[in-house]
Point group: C2
Chain length 302, copies 2
């Protein structure tokens, strides 16, 4: 099984009630890959960085089983994002976004990556997501994420994309914005009506809901007393999800397999929240992962 992700690689400057980080490694494809590679290898990554991007980071990623042959190095600066979290830290306040080389990104899927079994189209212009989908042989499962910006500015393209994917990952606010429904079950049904067979609605500290045409399930967030920095939690969640599906031997449309993958994704996302950047998540062991999964299962079963 091969697993391909397309998305941003960035440097984040983040301030939270617990500290701050300056130009730390970030980006959806980064968080996704580092999280996914705990459970599955190799991960094929497609993204773009500037000529300021250190080779050491690429080496670190490759050492984790993240194949970076699709990580283009362009002339210019790497994507920078600056933001902060306050209060319950559920929503990031963006202070500055410098797309830099990511602004002109036209992903070219390397020949070796053209037959992915699992494809994750991280949050990016839906036209680019569609373009990547066109470049590959139809994968077994295609999942996509998006954000409010594309819902308001490129709804037609997003809908075109949604008609062709299997699994949509959205947060609560995006689900409401996309469907006009404030009830999450109604919103999920509306998303499924737009194409995806399964929708996963991420609710941050309130967990995730999984809906397909005939099932519903809920997985609570792993109970964390200190959230250092939630940046990348959703992308780590995506990485844990897709890696679990790639690893699973059941059919990918099997609802219990997706639910189990969401539980794994939840656990991985919890580690992501315990540090800035990938600091915590890159050190997680399978023993730590298994322990936390056991706690999560006990936490949510009655």
């Amino acid at each position: 099984m091969s697993l391909l992700v397309v998305g941003s690689v960035a440097f984040d400057s983040v301030k939270t009630p617990h500290g701050e980080a300056d130009e730390a490694l970030g980006g959806a494809a980064t968080f996704f890959s580092v999280a996914a590679s705990l459970l599955y290898k190799p991960i094929h990554l497609i993204g773009v960085v500037g000529d300021d991007f250190p080779d050491e980071i690429v080496k670190l990623l490759e050492k984790r089983g993240i194949d970076c042959r699709g990580l283009e190095k362009a002339k210019g600066s790497t994507f920078r994002w600056k933001g902060r979290y306050e209060g319950n830290m559920n929503t990031a306040v963006t202070e500055e976004t410098c797309l830099n080389v990511f602004g002109q990104f036209q992903p070219k899927v390397p020949e070796e990556f053209k037959k992915p079994d699992y494809l994750f189209l991280a949050n990016i212009d839906p036209d680019i997501q569609l373009d990547v989908l066109r470049q590959v042989k139809r994968p077994r499962t295609v999942a996509a994420d998006t954000m409010n910006f594309w819902i308001s500015s490129k709804l037609d393209s997003l809908k075109k994309l949604m008609a062709e994917i299997d699994l949509m990952v959205l947060n609560e606010g995006e689900a409401e914005m996309l469907t006009g429904k404030s009830n999450l079950i109604s919103a999920a049904r509306e998303v499924i009506h737009m194409g995806p067979k399964v929708v996963i609605i991420k609710k941050g500290a309130d967990g995730a809901m999984i809906v397909d045409s005939s099932h519903m399930a809920h997985v609570p967030a792993f109970p964390l007393e200190t959230v250092m920095d939630p940046t990348g939690a959703g992308d780590s969640f995506g990485g844990g999800l897709m890696a679990s599906l790639a690893k699973a031997e059941t059919d990918h449309t099997d609802f219990p397999a997706i639910r189990k993958a969401v539980a794994n994704a939840t656990v991985i996302a919890s580690f992501n929240c315990e540090s800035f950047s990938i600091e915590r998540i890159k050190t997680v062991t399978m023993k730590e992962f298994d322990e936390r999964l056991k706690i999560l299962r006990e936490y949510s079963s009655f």
Copy 2:
């Protein structure tokens, strides 16, 4: 086992995106009792109504096994509340509160009710909650609810009460307001530090979290596609909770018993949301209850 509740009995006028009700039966003690009586009988109710309160309602409550000998009839009008819900319906917007006879309420616990095994002090002035607690032989389990108004206006009394109870039921916003902690686990620990052995934080459509000094658990809300009116859901939750504890044969400090009681409470609260007033909840059968509990268990286990 005897179960006693002290709280309001009222007439509610409510507007939601799905309809409206005018002067329909409401009040914390009402919702609590009607919900509890599905699982356990008798319920001893202490409250006050005005001389405008129809005897037929009292008869209806008594028919359900709600002993209304503690329901005082005072000269004047019954408590009236008017409010509305918008959007995701998570918070009520109060339009009018007429305390009427409830404003001078000085509960007198009848002799026959003075040895409750389980006592629920519904949301009311904490001085009154304390006063009721003083009037009875120390129950096996005392639980209390409160609201933002008392947290800001009578914090000292509330803290005095909290030092004497076993179980505190709060919503998310109240937990944060009371403790100054936006992380719910930290908030729960702080509440426990104030006295209660167990705290249950209600998160509306996002379920409930249960915390004691050595355990944590989460129960999602029952997935409802249409919420007609959430008024009374928290009180029905309290009723389901206490009735389950009274019914259970395990020791009340047993964490699995409390978690099971919260699951039962969640199911009962879901019926509450499906109509205005007690219309739906008064018709629920044990068969319907059991079916929904089974769905909830499947929904949250993996």
